[in-house]
Symmetry: C2
Subunit: 406 residues, 2 copies
Amino acid sequence: MEKLKEVKGGICAAKGFRAAGVGAAIKYEGRNDVALVVADAPCTAAAVFTTNKVAAAPVLYDREAVKGGKVQAILANSGCANACTGAKGLADAKLSALVTAGELGVKPEHVLVASTGVIGRPLPMDRLLAGMKSAAASLGRTPAHALAAEKAIMTTDTRPKEAAFSAKIGGKTVTVGGMAKGSGMIEPNMATMLGFVTTDAAISRAMLKRALSLALAKSFNRVVVDGDESTNDSLFLLASGEAGNAPIVKAGADFDSFLAALEAVCVSLARQMATDGEGATKFVTVTVKGAKSAKDAERAARAIAKSPLAKTSWFGKDPNWGRVLAAVGYSGADVVDLETEVFYDRVWAFRRGTVADAAQLEKLAAVMKKDSFTVTVDLHLGKFEDTIYTCDISLDYVHINADYTT
Amino acid sequence: MEKLKEVKGGICAAKGFRAAGVGAAIKYEGRNDVALVVADAPCTAAAVFTTNKVAAAPVLYDREAVKGGKVQAILANSGCANACTGAKGLADAKLSALVTAGELGVKPEHVLVASTGVIGRPLPMDRLLAGMKSAAASLGRTPAHALAAEKAIMTTDTRPKEAAFSAKIGGKTVTVGGMAKGSGMIEPNMATMLGFVTTDAAISRAMLKRALSLALAKSFNRVVVDGDESTNDSLFLLASGEAGNAPIVKAGADFDSFLAALEAVCVSLARQMATDGEGATKFVTVTVKGAKSAKDAERAARAIAKSPLAKTSWFGKDPNWGRVLAAVGYSGADVVDLETEVFYDRVWAFRRGTVADAAQLEKLAAVMKKDSFTVTVDLHLGKFEDTIYTCDISLDYVHINADYTT
């Protein structure tokens, strides 16, 4: 497999895509809140949505729209989720897709819509559509255009999130680039997250869907912030085919190269989301190994990543292996405490019944001061392993979510 | 069924029990940390323990000890959980039961032990046993003795917790009294909680176990603080038989009267635990009704009670029905958002697609200022209902758990 190369340009890095982001005062003045991503021609498309039974209007709309398999444009807004808005919400989603199609000269069934923000308020259609028109007039292919779009989908995010990687496939350079938003309500199955990924790979829809599903499992579905799942999560993948590679229609080296680039983009975006978790001061990679089964490894790692007690201990720079072990204990995974080891980075805190002494705690203290570290639990019961990306729970997490208004 | 009467005296309210609590400097100077509860004669006993696979040494010890069916004394300490302490921890638990039995002149197999506090540290046996002797010398039957014992099992609790109720059974007054500790790591299945309940009812062991199981389901197993479950949870129920009622050996009016008193004690203790949830500023009763099944009602109520986003919104005095609905949506319960109503106390916030307007928000604001309120979700899909007791997540929750030390 060819080596991956990280490249610039985010959602505009692949050939055949333009983007724009503008301010339309959907909720606040003076910030970008309407984004457009537009392909030069209809793209092969795949999408994944929230599993929340209270799904927002744009999700209900897109689930139908994407069945056609082709997408040429995405209209997205922040500031209003268009969720729990009933028939009017669905009509607003449809109308905004229709008007966007007219403005761009593309087919209405090739337009997806995405919203994020407060639940239960109607979309301010006048401002949204005015913003869409202004965005359509400012579309471009530069990194600055990509950045403007990234900024327009941010809610409590503190930073825009983008990633792009290229790979060689049959002598051609194939690029995958993307943008995402999301910093709260993340877990499981990509909660309040919007992720848009574009590629110039030529690939069949079946293989595109398969690649998205595989990449998702290793990235967005492995991020935990607070354990809540939103009504609006959507991940779109559009393939323009402009790279000129021989179309990928089956498993093999070409597919693997494409998948590697897609995974690199998705894992990068997922890690950026955990790093930017609401109020987060620590990015924490939780790895459970030596599990009896894959299921055990996953649930133990998720339990640790979701434990409010473990998360607050990280915020307090405390290498509290007891809370980590307790979380494994109630996760449902098989565990024998006296067979288990707990490490922060490569420094052990608990080793088969032996507890860190003063000298060891000093080494651990150095790890806990870092902005980013790994918590590794080795169960020594089998050979299965899983990794979850997460963050701490800080005072600011509570501030942000207590002050966010209905 | 006779009317219940609330009475004073906590763990000493029922006939035949003495208690004591003393300071033994297990972790801190100047506070009670060793408690004894002693019956005048061996009692019929029932117990329930944590389901965490990482169970503490006292839990491992008690699980065996309680199989005999008789208990006469409980030794409990705070400051050290005696968890993840291996063979030495188990030996320490056994030894402390043995020495306690010798001191009190009771059979070793009639002594239970309980510990709560930091995980992974050995019990300071010298101090624990010195404390036990001092407690044995100060046993008594007054409310002050009960209070001293309650204080000795507190960790991050801010208040001691006791309750007692009496009922008439066949002309005799039967009393049930108890004490509990626990304010973090609570949920599900009574996490870090110690609960000791005594009664003077004459009752068979089979009926005692049945009553405990029924009362547990409506009380401690319906409390959520942060979703973590501890390694040390234990709930003990001791019946002295001194009330002189005709022994309860089967279902019927007598059993129902006893169960009502036991439930009243357990629900009171459970509510005190949620009210005293770490850093809690609000006691919140979450009721889901109109569910398609009992399972749906429970999981929807639990999802709301566990949602960090809902909990932080309550702290922020925000009637955020959107986060409540989103939690129901990912709970797995059947829900149709536009059929659903959400109330804070009796004030609606979301009603089948209609969202609270400014006038309604003003009414809601008055509810959100209260220290205690109810969140009710009516799914309008069936006739099942469940209730979970919980609290908000505050800045102090993070403070307390970030500063608690390994």
